[in-house]
């Protein structure tokens, strides 16, 4: 259900090591909760962010919520496609629906986040 090549936060973001650069998005669970995504506000490229900082927002037909930085680092790229095709987040949350990329990230910080098994247990707890 949850890919095991990414790490997860309690705010339902995921982060993947893509050869030194890190890709960030929101999880299938978050997407399921939000429903059809209609808008994504992404951080500025070059912004230095700290762990837990609200760096963007995601809106669905039903609701709006903040997107947080899973770890500290610098935003190196954003997914421009989401501006016109926010539905990519629904269709492929761990692939084409990514939000932004980060550099200057400490790998040790990433590994402190939840792995797939831990996140799955966390989500189950949320649902009960």
């Amino acid at each position: 259900m949850y890919p095991d090549d990414v790490y997860y936060t309690e705010d339902h973001e995921w982060i993947r090591d893509d050869g030194g650069e890190y890709v960030v998005g929101i999880t299938a669970f978050a997407v399921e909760q939000l429903g059809d995504i209609t808008f994504a506000e992404l951080p500025e490229v070059g912004a230095d962010v700290v762990k837990g900082e609200a760096v963007g927002t995601v809106e669905s037909v039903k609701a709006a919520s903040d997107v947080y930085a899973p770890v500290a680092g610098r935003v190196s790229e954003i997914n421009d496609a989401l501006e016109t095709q926010p539905e990519l987040v629904n269709q492929d949350p761990y692939g084409e629906g990514w939000f932004y990329k980060m550099e200057d990230v400490r790998a040790s910080e990433v590994k402190k986040l939840m792995d797939a098994a831990a996140y799955e247990a966390f989500v189950q707890e949320q649902e009960t």
Partner: protein, 355 residues
């Protein structure tokens, strides 16, 4: 939570269920955007069995009920319906209702689920020979440009000629059905008032058609919002008058009704809030309860807001002072001061409801 007679149908269609006014209702099946778009281009069926229905018999009942609402239902021709607001002494809206005159001496009043207890009290206490038929009545709405064909395919030939805001009795599989044509989506639409036992077979008969898919409360909300139709309990919640709710054209000033004096006083003060349409310049949406600002001054509240799938940007309804209600007025909303413009309603003007 109460369940409609279509509860099992919703579960077997994998609907996501939610609580709405004490009822377990489907919020979505395939997804709000897909259902919204399907309603604008084909046909959707909505379970509206949670809504309330009352039957009035006789001229005395109609005359009495006419004093409780701001519109005039006594002057309705047989077979026609009219929208109107049920008022308190202070002219605040208890609920908005549609009243159909089914026969010379018979009317049916259709109310929302939210304020149903309060509405029932008002109608039953104050109207002789009024009967609450909500418990024995299910309601299926068939909405979309292909609704007429779908109705005929299922066996309702009267859909061919039924005019807008009309209602007529018929039978389906031997049971009595009232078919009305009002709608809440902006598209051509028929509403079927049926005995509980008919709900499942009729729902299945529609869903068996290629053009028809079920739609939930989520799509119903974005569809009605694009038309600028207020939702009872959300866009007026007991403290607003029909003047403020933008219902001037549904007020029969020349009739006598409860709350009329208060309403006249409000009109003559020429100083009240108005429910207006607001629109963003992006996909970002205003949201329910957002504060509205003019320059930096708080001037009102957003009561409904969402991304409008058929208009392609954020839309909403908000109460603002009359002086700020002109189309073109620039306002901001919410903690992040999202820029919005006051626009005339509806947001979406390509609907097929009158075709």
């Amino acid at each position: 939570m109460r369940k409609t007679p279509l509860y099992d149908e919703h579960l077997s269609a994998n609907a996501k269920m939610t609580e709405f006014s004490g009822w377990a209702m489907p919020i979505q099946y395939a997804g709000i955007l897909a259902e919204h778009s399907h309603t604008r281009s084909a046909v959707s069926v909505f379970d509206c069995s949670h809504m309330g229905e009352f039957r009035l018999r006789g001229a005395a009942a109609a005359a009495q009920f006419n004093t409780l609402i701001a519109s005039d239902i006594e002057s309705l021709r047989v077979g026609r319906g009219r929208y109107g607001a049920l008022l308190t002494e202070n002219a605040t809206i208890i609920d908005d209702v549609i009243t159909f005159r089914l026969a010379e001496d018979e009317w049916m009043v259709v109310t929302n689920a939210g304020p149903l207890d309060r509405v029932g009290e008002v109608i039953l206490d104050q109207t002789p020979d009024a009967e609450d038929i909500s418990g024995e009545t299910a309601k299926i709405d068939v909405q979309g440009p292909g609704a007429r064909e779908a109705m005929i395919q299922v066996g309702f030939d009267l859909a061919e000629k039924l005019p807008y805001f009309a209602a007529q009795g018929t039978t389906w599989q031997g049971s009595s059905v009232i078919v009305a044509r009002a709608g809440y989506t902006g598209e051509l639409g028929f509403e079927l008032y049926i005995p509980i036992a008919l709900a499942e077979p009729l729902w299945q008969a529609f869903c068996a058609l290629d053009t028809v898919a079920p739609a939930g409360l989520g799509a119903r909300d974005t569809l009605r919002l694009e038309m600028g139709y207020p939702l009872s309990g959300q866009d007026f919640d007991g403290s607003r008058t029909p003047l403020e709710a933008g219902q001037n054209r549904f007020i029969a000033w020349d009739t006598s009704f409860r709350g009329r004096d208060a309403l006249v006083a409000k009109r003559e003060s020429n100083d009240y809030d108005l429910l207006v349409g607001i629109q963003t310049g992006s996909r970002r949406a205003p949201r329910h309860d957002f504060e509205v600002y003019y320059d930096d001054t708080p001037v009102g509240h957003v009561t409904s807001g969402a991304y409008g799938p058929s208009v392609g940007h954020g839309i909403g309804l908000a109460y603002v002072p009359k002086a700020l209600s002109e189309a073109g007025t620039q306002l901001t909303v919410g903690p992040r001061r999202l820029e919005v413009e006051v626009v005339s309603l509806p947001f979406y003007s390509h609907g097929t409801c009158r075709t």
